[in-house]
Each structure stands twice: as C-alpha cells, then as structure tokens.
C-alpha cells in the first residue's frame, strides 16, 4: 500500500492543489489508467479548494491499494449544515471574498460526486467535515 499525506491551511488558495498535483505524479508512476487519474485529481482538487475556502485547516490522506484509491479529506471547520443542499449544483455558502477569487460556484461537491466512484460526506457543525472518496481501477 502507498500512503500520501498533505496538510491544507484554511484560506491558503495558493497551496490548494498541491495534494492533487503530488498525488497525480505518484499515480502516473504507478501506471494507473490516465482516465482514473484524471477523475481522481479533479475530485481531490475540488476537495482541497473546499477546505481552503471554508475550513480552518485540514489533512488529505491518499492510500493506493490493489485496484482502489482511497482519498480522505478531513478538516476542522464550521462543518456543513445541510449536506443535501450542499450536494446540489450551484448551491454555495462561500464568502463574497472567496467568490471574488473565482471559487464558490457551488460545483465542488457535485463535481466530486461526478468523478468519484463512491463519495461519503460526514459533518459535525463547528467541528469539521470528512469527505471520503473511492476510485476503482
């Protein structure tokens, strides 16, 4: 099993994308189907941006096992009040400041759902959110 860990700081959009880029490099070296790599990277990037936009800090853990990639993005933050609504395209609670930076279109979670083979979102208000994604190859 291969395991990769990355930290994300809330509000740090400059570094958001590091986990997806580094993971991508490794997956390519493992000779995993480019189409799976692409889905994985797009979904992970969205998750990273979510942490940067909403949470205080977070951690990404990517593990690659036989025929499966597991990505867990765990953050400490305000949590998601209504996960059902957050899954709808276009729904966003991003601040005006985040929107000004070109994020917060309300496509984050829907995009993760579209790209991951399995997506699980668990959240506790004022504690944090854990997004778990599975990709099969």
């Amino acid at each position: 099993m291969i395991e990769l860990k990355f930290r994300i700081e809330g509000g740090d959009f400059d570094r958001a994308g590091t986990a997806s880029s580094e993971t991508k490099k490794v997956l390519k070296q493992l000779n995993i189907d480019p189409k799976v790599v692409k889905r994985m990277v797009v979904a992970l990037y969205e998750a990273e941006v979510n942490v940067a936009a909403h949470a205080w800090r977070g951690e990404v853990t990517v593990s690659v096992k036989d025929h499966q990639i597991l990505a867990v993005v765990k953050d400490e933050g305000p949590g998601i009040a209504d996960i059902g609504r957050a899954m709808l395209e276009g729904f966003s609670t991003a601040s005006p400041k985040v929107r000004e930076m070109g994020f917060g279109a309300g496509m984050g979670l829907p995009n993760m759902k579209k790209n991951a083979d399995e997506l699980k979102v668990e959240s506790t208000p004022d504690v944090g959110t854990t997004v778990t994604m599975i990709f099969d190859f």
Binding site: G17, K24, K28, N31, V41, V42, V64
Partner: protein, 457 residues
C-alpha cells in the same frame, strides 16, 4: 500495436561533453542523467524540446540532419521552410533576394510552410464545432508539446486536435501541385528547413502512423549561414509566383498567438516549455476551465525562438509582423482552383494519438507499487539538497533510478560522507565510487580541465 520508442533528433557528442549538469537541470522531463562523466538521454522521456542544447556550455548537443548535396538526386528540389527563416534576416535583405539565394543553392521551388493555411484553418474550425470533443483543444503545431502530452499528460491526449501540423500540409500541397503539372512522385524531393529539433523528429516519425512525404531535413542555422554567404545584391530572378498562396495569417502562424487568434471564443497562447508544463499541471487538475483552444509552443516567442535560429527572436517576430502587412488576409484570397482540397484534407487527418506514459515505474501496477514504496523509504536517507552530484536531477529522481536498478545508494555524495563518518566505508572506496560516476581523474587539480580555461560560463 506495440508502442515504438520515438525517433530522436537530439544527440550528444561524447567527445565534447564535459560532464557538467547544466542540461540535466533544465530538462523539463527529467530525461538526462550523467554516467561516467557524460550526459546521457533517456530516449523514452526526451521530447526534443532543445532546452539541453540551449543550456550546454560545451555545445556538446547536436542534431542529425541530411546533407544539402542530397537534393541533387531530385529533379524537383523543394525548400520547405517556416516564415521565421525570412524573419531573421536583417531588413536590408528583401524576400526576393532571400528566395533568389535559395535558387542559387540549387532549389527549384520554395514554399513557406504556412502557405495554404486556409485549408488548415477551415479544417480545424470544422473540428472545433463538433460537440462532445474534450475541451480545451490543443493543436499539433508544436511536436515537442505533443510528445510532452503523450509521455507526461496521457489523459490530455484526447484533447489534441487530430489534424497534422502545417509542414505536413504544405508538403502535401506542393507535391500535389507538382504532380498536377506532370512531375513524377520519385522526381520530387521535399526538404524541410527546420527551426528546431522537435520538428525533425516529427518529420522522421510523425504523430500518426502514415509516413512523412518529406525527403530530408536541413537545420536552419546551417541553411541560414549558406544563404548569407551567397545572397546577391541584385535581383535577377522573379520569384513572386512562389509566394502566390502566402497570406498575412500564414506569415504570423508560427509566431505567438498566430493560431490562438484564429480559433475558439476563448483561446490562450503559451510559449516556453516550462510555462507549458505548469499550465498542463493546472489543466489536468481541472483548475483551468472554460477555454476552447490552447496554443502551446515549446520555445519562448514560439518558432522565432527556435533552437536552430540564428537571429534574435524578438527582431524576427517584428520583421514577420511588418512583412505580414504586405500580404492579403486569407479571407480576401481566392482559393487556387487547381487545389484538390478533398485529398489535401484527407492527408491531414491523424487516426489516433496514443499516450505513452514515460514516468511509470513498472508496467505492472503491483510491481510499480512495490517500487514506489521502496523509493519512498530510500528518500528518507537522501539529503533533499537536489544537488545533482549523483548524476540524477534531484533526490526523488535518484530514488526512482535506484528502484529501477539504475543507481546505487553510494551515488549520493552526502550519504557516502555519512557512511565514512560512521566508519562504514573507507575513504578510498568512497572516492572510487565518485570517480565511477564522474570519470577517472575528474577530481584532480588541473587548470586546463575541460570547461575551465577560457570557457567561462
């Protein structure tokens, strides 16, 4: 079909290589390693971008080309060249003089690569109108970029527009025109005057499967020198007919924004291989959205900055801009009635552009995972200084080389030092290891050492 290793135009002259690490540092695909004190290229990873050639202080890199004498074998001798060739001449030389000089060199026909550009513009626009194609679309114009995608961004191969580059178009175009005039196929010799190494490789092993119609390749710097030597002051030959198809857009095609200004509602033009790499990383992450077309060129200032150009890239671009003003837009130009658009179009289509991941640790995923775990453990022992003294571009690359059996722990000079300190290895043995990597006698004091005297860099 089994993937063939690409043809490569860039070679290293071992006698000239002084075994420094300038080339290894700048290579965008980590394709260079130093072994026995000499640079070597990992063929599978090389995209022929020419960064190493630019960086080499000893001019040890060269590119293969055909001898100009080869043109004598043909009755119809065609010089196929991109407009940047004209652009790099000083203003005092007119295009008539330059064309005439090419005839003096023995060519019977001259065709600028971008001449029948309307065919390419129409065909590309038609493709871009299709729904369901992955956006943003990337053209095949720069072969170094196409190869970069194939080896490093395999998921983006679907974004490449399956239409050949302008040099293929003009080669087919001139051949068709000559055959229409009664020439036999075997009497026609088309010689491509190349501004870079990547185009040579593209001519020798094209992106698709069909063989190229180009008979030979001549490097532009040598060609330019020859032209400068024989160019005459007075113009006695009328070559205007040879430029009949030339348009404003065609002349500017190989300069930056030449393509992107023609295609898509939202198009980006990027030049310089390291900028291209950074952008592809972002694109692959899905960070970049909403663009229809990408013009990606490996050289700064696009082909005006080609590795085989003699002139300055900025003045070359400016001269082309001035020159383009004397030519009509392709929109105002009547199509040559004799042109067989249908067959020309057919010859431009590429069946499939296959990805060829050159960074995989193993074909087998579970073996690749084992190697990856091993590399991750090795990296704990390496200093992370990325000095290159091991002959690999950075510590990560060294760790990967080790799990591939291409390098040893003792290649790391710092690790060796630690071992010496811990008394695990003798000084003599450590020194011997370094000489094995960098060549015997390499560390002897020598004021006449290769690269030392009057070769400041």
């Amino acid at each position: 079909m089994v993937q063939e290793v690409f043809h490569h135009a860039i070679q290293i002259d071992e006698a000239k290589c002084i075994g420094c690490i300038h080339c290894m540092r700048v290579c965008p695909t980590e394709a260079i390693r130093i072994k026995d004190g000499k640079a070597t290229i990992i063929q599978e990873r090389c995209i022929d971008c020419g960064q190493c050639m630019r960086a080499c202080p000893a001019k040890a890199f060269y590119i293969e080309q055909n001898d100009l004498k080869m043109i004598e074998q043909y009755k119809y001798r065609i010089a196929l060249f991109p407009a940047v060739l004209i652009g790099q001449f000083p203003d005092k030389y007119s295009e008539e003089q330059i064309y005439q000089a090419m005839m003096d060199l023995g060519f019977t026909h001259m065709i600028e690569v971008e001449q029948p550009i309307k065919v390419l513009i129409d065909l590309t626009r038609e493709y871009l109108r299709e729904e369901m194609i992955p956006k943003p679309c990337i053209s095949t114009f720069c072969p170094a970029v196409v190869r970069l995608i194939q080896i490093k961004y395999p998921a983006l191969t679907d974004n490449i527009i399956p239409i050949k580059a302008p040099h293929d178009l003009s080669a087919h175009f001139i051949r068709q025109a000559l055959i229409n005039q009664g020439a036999k196929k075997e009497e026609i010799g088309i010689f491509y005057i190349t501004p870079c190494a990547a185009k040579i490789s593209a001519v020798k092993s094209p992106v698709g499967d069909q063989p190229s119609v180009v008979s030979g390749v001549i490097s532009m710097n040598d060609f330019y020198n020859k032209l400068r030597q024989i160019i005459r002051k007075e113009v006695t030959i009328d070559t205007r007919q040879q430029r009949w198809h030339l348009t404003r857009e065609g002349i500017l095609w190989s300069t930056s924004r030449g393509e992107s200004s023609r295609f898509g509602n939202r198009a980006i033009a990027i030049d310089g291989i390291h900028s291209v790499v950074k952008f592809f990383d972002r694109l692959e992450n899905g960070e970049v959205k909403g663009f229809d077309f990408l013009e990606m060129r490996a050289c700064d200032q696009s082909c005006a900055g080609g590795i085989l150009l003699t002139g300055n890239r900025f003045t070359t671009t400016e001269r082309l801009e001035q020159r383009s003003k004397n030519y009509p837009s392709y929109l105002d130009k009547d199509q040559d009635p004799e042109l067989d658009i249908k067959s020309l179009t057919a010859s431009l289509l590429i069946d499939e552009i296959k990805p060829h991941n050159a960074f995989r640790l193993d074909d087998d995923i579970s073996k690749a995972m084992e190697k990856m775990s091993k590399a991750q453990r090795i990296i704990c022992f390496l200093p992370g200084i990325d000095c290159g003294a091991c002959g690999a571009p950075n510590c990560q690359a060294l760790a990967e080389d080790m799990v591939q059996g291409k390098a040893k722990m003792s290649d790391c000079v710092f690790l060796q030092q630690r071992w010496e300190n811990e008394g695990r290895i003798g000084t003599g043995k450590a020194f011997h290891n370094m000489e094995k990597r960098w060549g015997e006698g390499r560390f002897n004091a020598d004021c006449n050492k290769r690269g030392r005297r009057n070769e400041g860099f």
